[in-house]
């Protein structure tokens, strides 16, 4: 493909910028010493602090640039590439600026927030690099809509078949289809928990009979149908159960794909829910950090 990802954008030009910036910061840091110990208050510390603050402001501006659609100011892939590399370099700049003097105060709060934002950024870039391919492979050519269409079709056939079968099987199948849970809240999406249920036929001897029980991954229903198969004597019913089994196995496969699709797509997106609010918090903390530094000077 002729596309280039953000890490390789313009032959990874911004990687070299970041390396340069880090080297410069280290150099500057190492010139400290003498009367004053290394910290944010030396002139070198001020330079590093200024660079860091400007970087943070610029990094946050990505949120605006990304939405300034008619802008001529460089392309968004270029900005993102620079964002990722220079954001990483910020770790060095800010650490050297603080000179490791952390404590329980607003100054350190800024550092910690920044640290978390950057770490979340790392996680984000990890998902950006790895998940798109995984999502495509998982869907193997078809779209989410097509997966759902297939699911509906299987549901329809399952219902139709079950209606011809014995009542208890009909209840099992209908309840399993009706109470199939897909997606859910943020946690369910990220962790892929499955709250699907089905109703066990009464008279099956166990305590849960007649009540909805977990149908995690659709396995219990499959087990139940498979269990019934060798115990049926009527040919017609055996055939029906075999067909139902096939449908439920296929359903399981389709549902797994859908769940995986939801999970991966969720992960690719939800980290930004950490990255962005923390950025906002960081900016406030940064303002407080700068203002207090000057007031207590």
């Amino acid at each position: 493909m002729i596309h280039t990802g953000i890490l390789r954008y313009a032959k990874a030009r911004f990687l070299w910028w970041a390396v340069g910036l880090t080297a410069f910061s280290v150099l500057l840091y190492s010139t400290q010493g003498g009367l004053q110990p290394a910290n944010g208050g030396t002139w070198q510390g001020y330079v590093l602090g200024t660079i860091g603050a400007l970087l943070i402001v610029w990094l946050s501006m990505l949120g605006i640039r990304k939405r300034s659609y008619s802008s001529n100011a460089g392309s968004v892939p270029g900005w993102t590439s620079a964002h990722v590399y220079l954001g990483t370099a910020l770790l060095a700049v800010a650490t050297l600026h603080s000179a490791g003097q952390l404590g329980w105060n607003v100054h350190s709060l800024s550092y910690v927030l920044m640290f978390v934002v950057i770490i979340s950024g790392f996680y984000g870039i990890y998902t950006y690099v790895n998940y798109p391919q995984a999502i495509t492979e998982n869907r193997s050519g078809s779209s989410r809509a097509a997966l759902f269409a297939e699911l509906f079709e299987l549901d329809r056939r399952g219902r139709e078949l079950a209606a011809k079968g014995p009542d208890d099987i009909n209840i099992v199948v209908r309840s399993a289809i009706e109470r199939t849970a897909i997606g859910g809240g943020v946690y369910a999406q990220l962790l892929g928990t499955d709250r699907s249920l089905f109703v066990r036929p009464s008279g099956s001897g166990d305590s849960a009979a007649g009540k909805p029980v977990s149908n995690r991954d659709q396995q219990p229903v499959i087990d139940l149908i498979a269990g019934r198969l060798p115990r049926t004597s009527k040919v017609a019913e055996t055939e029906l159960l075999e067909e139902l089994l096939e449908i439920f196995c296929r359903r399981q496969a389709v549902l797994r794909r859908i769940a995986r699709d939801i999970r991966l797509r969720g992960r690719i997106r939800f980290w930004l829910l950490l990255h962005i609010p923390l950025t906002v918090a960081l900016i406030f903390a940064l303002i407080v950090h700068i203002v207090t530094t000057f007031i207590y000077w």
Partner: protein
């Protein structure tokens, strides 16, 4: 019983027919006729069925803005309802003698005593007949008992009108699917498909209907391989009918309140031909040959309106007025006469317009082929370009042009006028996408073509034409055209030329001939003159292939090569029993040359990936063409070496070939600029769609998620800027244009007819209301105002937008965005890219080491 007889019978009460009848009624009033000497026959129960069938509240436009209305009935831009009201009262005020429900089935006889037969079996007599039945045709009916029951209908105006009914929708096209889906929101719907799948529908509709049919929560059911056998009214007192269906499982009786059959329309051509009117050829869009006075080859039988090839309301109404005057022997100047005056204003002649028209037609062989009606139309739709030597002559001509321009700019929409240029000015440059065609009326034009650093110059003079290559193949210009001394050139737009070529075989043949000659010159013999090539050009063959057809097959013996004139060809090799695509070859390139260069066995199978036209050159002609030109032979050999290496490289990489195959299957063989998303990079953030909406009035012209995917290559639903855009074909106001840089876009002239939406095979045009304005970015970022960037799917149109009506929207490749395509610029991960055909090979091949 003696039949009623009239002087003029006007058939079809559309804008054209109404206007004609109103004029006839006025004349009746002026002469004080005791009873009407005219009759207007309309098959429908109301006037202007075509307009009645527009969407409710549609804003009807009065295009072309620069043409004045000449009619006894009013018409100005406004809502459909307003216009229909005006027409209704116009019919009354003028005392038009109109009969509704009078569908004409036959016209026989001759001038002075025509017999007009109606579907009711009645007949009327008429001295003159005006045919104004439009192009819409009548809907195809069920063709079974009960097809005319009151609740069996053949169109659907407003699906919301029906609630809690049981409805059968018959048909499997887009109209049927859209109706079924809309109706299923409030009703229980059965859709009847005569076949076992929905193969004729657009992809979007197809997915929607399949999903709806299998979704248990929707009350929409489908019968495949099923037709209606009969419909009978239900039991007494019930509103229901009973339809008997022929299904694969036997007959099924279905009770329902309503049947909506969407089976397409019967085009009017057969009927028109049955009246004795001749068409120039079998082409679908051919128009009948007419005189300047709209008279057909049957004396006394006149044709006007869209049936005559004039697709807009105002034109139709003007013709209605004029035709009745002409019939009365009053040969007035047609309403579009001033437009011709403006077109000729800057020419260095002191002559009347009619005189000039006649003179041009007698001087220029191609124009001579047109009747004067068609020629006037051509001039009105063209640009007339005139050159003067730089200096006082130019200054004077320019002054004259400017003063006319100042006068015309007073009009709401200024018409075209002569374009004055200097001698030596460039008319077009190589590489420009042009779609127009030029005819030299006077003076000279120089064409310069560079190949391998050598410039070949040709000078053309009166009667010759140029620009045919881009017109016929959709490829960018190859040469530079320079205005010579005092030349007059008529530049005609593609749409006009296509219409002309489809209805005039001589014109088509003439243009095709020069195309072949110039293509041969360009490909094989740059130093030969047109005269040299005249003979050979008659001996080469032109072929047309439909998408998927085979041009030649691997292993067979060949003794010719093909120059691809338009479209794209896929070359494939059979390797271990599998067809591996090794190359995609575009217009302007050659295939099969090896057969003439030492290897008579075809090493590849050549198949048309879209509709393709080729020029086949056999050995004898080939040898004659390149005869003594060593240089040329070397160049041809070099090109072949390059091609065989490329082919071999692809052949050993079947993965790449299969991706290329996919691209071709998706119609990229005719694309010039297409958005490709790399699925391995796309995170699905839809920032591309948002960018599109934000830079295009709040409506995204791209649907990222939709569209096919193969091996990480995803082709979202978005315009591909086809070489020969299908969408342009039937646009009545000619609102779809191509920029010199290649972008196909729709301008503000769009009347919202939806033709382009139907014609685009890639489903990329949407009919949409203008999006309502929304708060700016900062107000959203800081205060959460509005729903943020991107198209607001749930927004309802403002009153102004609703009044303006739905307009066609599609990707314009950001022609007017300084930073280039917004979608590509906005993609945070670099997954979106727009590419042209020359990059396909890079796309599919892993070049990186």
């Amino acid at each position: 019983m003696p039949m009623d007889s009239y002087r003029i019978a006007i058939i079809g009460a559309g804008p054209a027919g109404m206007s004609a009848a109103a004029r006839a009624a006025r004349l009746d009033a002026e002469t004080g006729a005791a009873s009407p000497t005219h009759i207007l026959l309309e098959g429908f129960s109301l006037p202007a069925k075509t307009i009645q069938r527009y969407q409710k509240g549609k804003h009807v436009m009065a295009e072309p803005g620069f043409l004045d209305l000449r009619s006894d009935i009013e018409f100005e831009a406004g809502s459909r309802e307003h216009i229909l009201d005006k027409w209704q009262s116009g019919l009354q005020a003028n005392g038009v003698n109109i009969r509704f429900g009078a569908e004409v089935t036959r016209i026989s006889g001759s001038k002075g005593n025509f017999v007009v037969e109606l579907s009711s079996g009645e007949s009327l007599g008429a001295e003159f007949v005006v045919l104004s039945i439009g192009l819409e045709g009548n809907p195809r009916k069920l063709g079974v008992e009960g097809q005319d029951l009151p609740n069996v209908q053949y169109q659907l105006d407003d699906p919301k009108e029906y609630d809690s009914e049981r409805i059968i929708v018959v048909g499997a096209g887009d109209a049927a699917i859209e109706n079924a889906l809309a109706l299923a929101e409030q009703n229980e719907v059965w859709i009847l498909n005569r076949r076992d799948e929905f193969s004729r529908a657009k992809e979007g509709n197809l997915n929607a209907i399949l999903a709806a049919i299998s979704d248990p929560n929707q009350k929409l059911h489908c019968y495949y391989s099923t037709s209606v056998k009969s419909v009978v009214p239900g039991a007494q007192g019930s509103t229901a009918m009973v339809a008997t269906l022929d299904t694969p499982e036997g007959e099924v009786a279905l009770e329902c309140e309503r049947i909506i059959a969407r089976l397409g329309a019967i085009p009017p051509r057969r009927f028109v031909e049955s009246c004795g009117i001749e068409f120039p050829n079998e082409k679908r869009d051919a128009k009948p040959e007419l005189s300047r006075y709209y008279e057909s080859n049957v004396p006394g039988l006149y044709v006007i309106g869209s049936l005559a090839g004039y697709p807009l309301i105002k034109q139709a109404m003007n013709q209605g007025y004029d035709v009745v005057e002409f019939i009365g022997g009053n040969f007035i100047q047609p309403a579009d006469h001033p437009l011709l005056e403006y077109q000729f204003n800057g020419l260095p002649y002191e002559r009347e317009v009619d005189d000039l028209i006649e003179r041009f037609q007698s001087l220029i062989p191609m124009f001579r082929e047109l009747n004067s009606l068609a020629f006037r139309e051509l001039v009105i739709e063209s640009n007339v370009i005139v050159s003067f030597p730089d200096g006082p002559e130019y200054a004077e001509a320019n002054k004259k042009a400017e003063s006319l321009a100042a006068r015309l700019s007073q009009m709401a929409k200024p018409p075209r006028m002569t374009r004055v240029i200097r001698e030596g000015d460039v008319i077009y440059e190589p590489g420009e996408f042009g779609t127009s065609f030029y005819t030299i009326v006077d003076g000279e034009v120089t064409l310069e073509r560079e190949s391998d650093g050598v410039t070949h110059t040709t000078t053309l003079s009166r009667g010759e034409f140029f620009g045919e290559m881009s017109l016929l193949s959709g490829r960018p210009r190859l040469e530079r055209a320079i205005a010579g001394a005092s030349c007059i050139v008529v530049e005609s737009p593609r749409r006009t030329m296509v219409k002309l070529m489809n209805s005039n075989d001589t014109v088509r043949e003439g243009i095709e001939w020069i195309f072949v000659v110039r293509e041969l010159q360009n490909q094989f013999a740059p130093n030969a003159s047109v005269a040299d090539l005249r003979d050979i050009s008659g001996r080469v063959q032109i072929h047309n292939y439909k998408a998927g057809e085979t041009i030649f097959t691997e292993g067979e013996r060949g003794d010719s090569l093909h120059v691809i004139r338009s479209g794209g060809v896929a070359l494939s090799r059979n390797i271990d029993g599998e067809d591996i695509l090794v190359a995609q070859v575009r217009g302007g390139k050659r295939i099969g040359e090896m057969a003439l260069m030492g290897d008579p066995t075809r090493r590849e199978t050549a198949r048309a990936s879209v509709a393709v036209e080729t020029i086949e050159v056999s050995r004898a002609e080939f040898i004659e063409l390149v005869r003594d030109d060593r240089d040329q032979i070397r160049k041809l050999q070099d090109a072949v070496s390059q091609q065989v290496t490329d082919n071999a490289r692809m052949a050993v990489r079947p993965e790449s070939g299969s991706v290329m195959d996919f691209l071709m299957d998706e119609g990229l063989g005719e694309a010039t600029n297409v958005l490709i998303i790399n699925e391995a990079l796309c995170v699905g953030c839809d920032n591309c769609e948002k960018a599109c909406a934000e830079t295009h009035g709040g409506i995204s012209r791209l649907d990222r998620d939709a569209g096919p995917t193969y091996a990480n290559v995803h082709i979202p639903t978005s315009c591909r800027h086809c070489e020969q855009p299908h969408c342009m074909k039937d646009c009545p106001p000619n609102a779809i244009r191509r920029a010199e840089t290649g972008e196909v876009y729709i301008n503000a002239d769009c009347i919202g007819c939806g033709n382009c939406e139907q014609n685009c095979p890639y489903d990329v045009i949407q009919m949409k209301y203008d999006a309502p304005p929304k708060p700016g970015l900062l107000r959203w970022l800081l205060f959460g105002a509005g729903n943020g960037p991107g198209e607001d799917q749930g927004a309802s149109p403002t009153e102004a937008a609703a009044k303006k009506g739905k307009k066609a929207t599609k990707c314009d490749a950001c022609v007017d965005q300084k930073a280039g395509p917004a979608c590509v610029n906005a993609c945070p991960t670099g997954a979106a890219m727009r590419i042209g055909p020359s990059q396909y090979i890079d796309l599919v091949e892993e070049r990186r080491r």
